[in-house]
């Protein structure tokens, strides 16, 4: 909490020691401003989460763990974890792998604003609109296939929607700008003098990247990975609209949704949601754990 520099005179001399010790610990009038946000988090996140957790241990039938044993006994259910990971992991890795080299090129560009504006668009459009657009564009009668057929590259339209690749591409379209903008701001934060110094010392472009830039951005990339991964892991609209929701893109959020709104088994749906949270948490914890082993200091070149 920021400490306010102005502390009003206490009303009585007796009140002084107590006032001061609170202020020293960072509590003062400004601290109260955190209350609305704390209340918001408590009501809209912590309470529903705990409620869902409790609900998941109160199944319709069977003992308190019945929902979980049911989930892991049914391949149709537990395979959703794998199906979701199969989408979320490659998409996240690819988004970051694309972001880094492009950000390296773009950071010195003059019309950066224009590019970032264009890239923000898919984020603002939302997943539903993007999925619909891709459905038309990549569908059997869409421009993409028609162009390829007309120039003779393929004989008949290739299948890019209602399957894994449709969802994959839509996640790239919506996820890339997010990963890119974060990566760009991070790479722009590296003092250009560091690379110049490396160059005068004989480091070629690839060596400068591998030995100077990469070590400095990897901790940040780990955080971006976590954010992008969680985002992709909770994929829902595009998996339904542009994927094959009954088969290869039956993602875990879809399973939870079906349990809740088709079978009206909120308890089971809560259990699935908890499993989903556990998987996400596991990956985030692993990535951040590895990050903890790396250099995480400032990316500047000294005291400047």
């Amino acid at each position: 909490m920021p400490e306010s520099g102005i502390v009003s005179e206490p009303a009585s001399p007796l009140a002084r020691p107590r006032r001061r010790s609170l202020a020293e610990r960072g509590f003062d009038g400004v601290t109260l401003l955190v209350l609305p946000a704390a209340l918001f988090v408590l009501l809209l996140f912590v309470y529903p989460f705990l409620y869902g957790l409790a609900l998941s241990f109160a199944p319709k039938t069977g003992d308190w763990l019945a929902n979980y044993t049911r989930f892991f006994a049914d391949p149709y259910m537990y395979r959703t974890i794998w199906l979701t990971l199969r989408l979320a992991l490659p998409v996240t890795v690819l988004n970051i792998a694309l972001s880094v080299p492009i950000a390296m090129q773009v950071r010195h560009m003059r019309h950066q604003r224009l590019l970032t504006t264009i890239l923000v668009l898919p984020i603002t459009l939302g997943t539903v609109l993007v999925a619909e657009g891709l459905l038309n564009y990549l569908g059997p009668h869409g421009w993409f296939n028609r162009t390829l057929v007309s120039i003779g590259l393929i004989d008949r339209p290739i299948r890019l929607v209602q399957n894994y690749w449709g969802v994959f591409l839509s996640l790239i379209v919506t996820g890339f700008p997010f990963a890119f903008l974060l990566t760009l701001s991070m790479i722009s934060g590296i003092d250009p003098a560091l690379e110049q110094a490396a160059a005068t010392l004989g480091g070629r472009a690839h060596q400068r990247f591998r030995r100077i830039v990469l070590p400095l951005i990897i901790p940040g990339l780990a955080v971006i990975f976590c954010l992008a991964f969680v985002d992709a892991f909770s994929v829902f609209p595009s998996a339904v609209m542009i994927g094959a929701p009954a088969a290869e893109t039956r993602v875990i959020s879809l399973a939870a949704s079906q349990a809740a709104f088709e079978q009206y088994d909120y308890s089971y749906a809560s259990a699935i949601a908890m499993i989903m949270a556990a998987v996400q948490f596991g990956f985030v914890a692993a990535v951040l754990g590895i990050r903890g082993l790396l250099y995480r200091g400032p990316a500047g070149g000294g005291k400047g």
Partner: protein, 358 residues
């Protein structure tokens, strides 16, 4: 000492120019730096001195002109192919590498085997007297220590040329003096050539064999510290070398190199005024330390400020000509009091020209 610069004779800048858009930041700079020389590029901020250094290092490309290292043209090479050592203003140490790895980076890039690398890192660290800190990260070092690491890193690859971009400007006054002596010592030890960018005339005078004064992207004067200090070629160079007082006037009489100016001062003609005769517009330049109260002093004025600087008092007058002038006095003079100031003729420089930007 095992660190020795490889053989080379000279670095030659031939009409080097650099434009940023329509702005000519460097205008046809020509300069030859010989092996073992310490060259200071001196000038006010915006004069193009850092641009010149970056052009030599290869961090900026030239708009025109050539740079030669003996028989090899280097301005077309990338910075990593030139093999010059560079010390940056903000050190630019790699924050994620410890001191050893920072210093060894250049050797590693040049493919020096590990054993030889370790030995040369040790040597470079001992040159800058930092052996004990070798396992620390840059963030754990003081500013002066970071600067030493930056120097060690630049010299570890044994470059023919070391480039320094205002390396002391981030240090406090005491450390600056200390590091100045260090830089001089290291330069002598290596025998390589050093090009040192600074806006501080004291630094340039004390370090350099030759000083190159730049202004608005042009070389104004190249000379030894003594030449520049005693005989600046132009009024603006003189001002930069500490001749803070500039009086405008016309020549009224001349005997030999001494001319009398209508503001009452007698001085020695310099630069382009060498051929000047009576009636010529001139600028008279005097250092504050040479302008002192004297009973028959030609410059009259009232004291407006006085400050004690240990060896003497320094004051300001508003002259009767309506100008602010700086002078030296052995005794304090009360504010508002009228004084007569004068300077010995051999300490007064007279330049042809009218007052434009002084």
């Amino acid at each position: 000492m095992a660190i020795a610069s490889p053989d080379f004779r000279e670095l030659r800048l031939d009409r080097v120019s650099r434009n940023f858009g329509a702005l000519n930041v460097l205008k046809e700079i020509s300069l030859t730096v010989r092996r073992g020389e310490f060259i200071a590029l001196l000038g006010p901020s915006g004069c193009g001195k850092s641009t010149a250094l970056n052009c030599i290092a290869g961090l900026l490309s030239l708009s025109d002109g050539e740079i030669w290292l003996d028989d090899r043209r280097v301005d077309t090479l990338k910075p990593e192919e030139r093999g010059f050592g560079m010390v940056f203003q903000k050190y630019a140490l790699f924050p994620h590498m410890n001191v050893r790895r920072n210093v060894g980076f250049g050797l590693q890039m040049h493919g020096v085997a590990k054993a030889a690398r370790e030995r040369r890192v040790d040597e470079a660290l001992s040159v800058v007297r930092l052996g004990a800190q070798s396992a620390k990260l840059p963030g754990q070092l003081s500013g002066g220590q970071q600067q030493r690491v930056a120097i060690a890193r630049a010299i570890a690859v044994e470059p023919p040329l070391v480039l320094m971009d205002e390396p002391l400007s981030n240090l406090d006054a005491k450390l600056r003096l200390e590091m100045r002596a260090e830089i001089r010592r290291i330069h002598r030890l290596l025998g390589s050539a050093t090009i040192y960018v600074t806006h501080d005339q004291d630094e340039a005078l004390s370090l350099a064999d030759r000083i190159v004064v730049l202004r608005d992207g042009e070389v104004r004067q190249i000379g030894t510290p003594q030449e520049l200090y005693q005989r600046p070629l132009h009024a603006d160079v003189a001002e930069f070398m500490g001749f803070r007082n500039a009086l405008a006037g016309k020549i009224v009489g001349r005997s030999g190199d001494d001319v009398e100016v209508d503001c009452g001062v007698t001085g020695r003609v310099s630069g382009k005024a060498l051929e000047a005769s009576a009636g010529t517009d001139v600028l008279v330049a005097i250092r504050p330390s040479d302008l002192v109260p004297m009973s028959d002093g030609p410059i009259l004025g009232k004291v407006t400020a006085m400050e004690y600087r240990g060896e003497a008092y320094y004051g300001t007058i508003a002259s009767d000509g309506g100008q602010e002038l700086f002078f030296r006095a052995d005794q304090p003079i009360a504010l508002g009091e009228a004084v007569k100031l004068g300077a010995p003729a051999d300490r007064v420089l007279v330049y042809a020209g009218k007052r434009d930007r002084v």
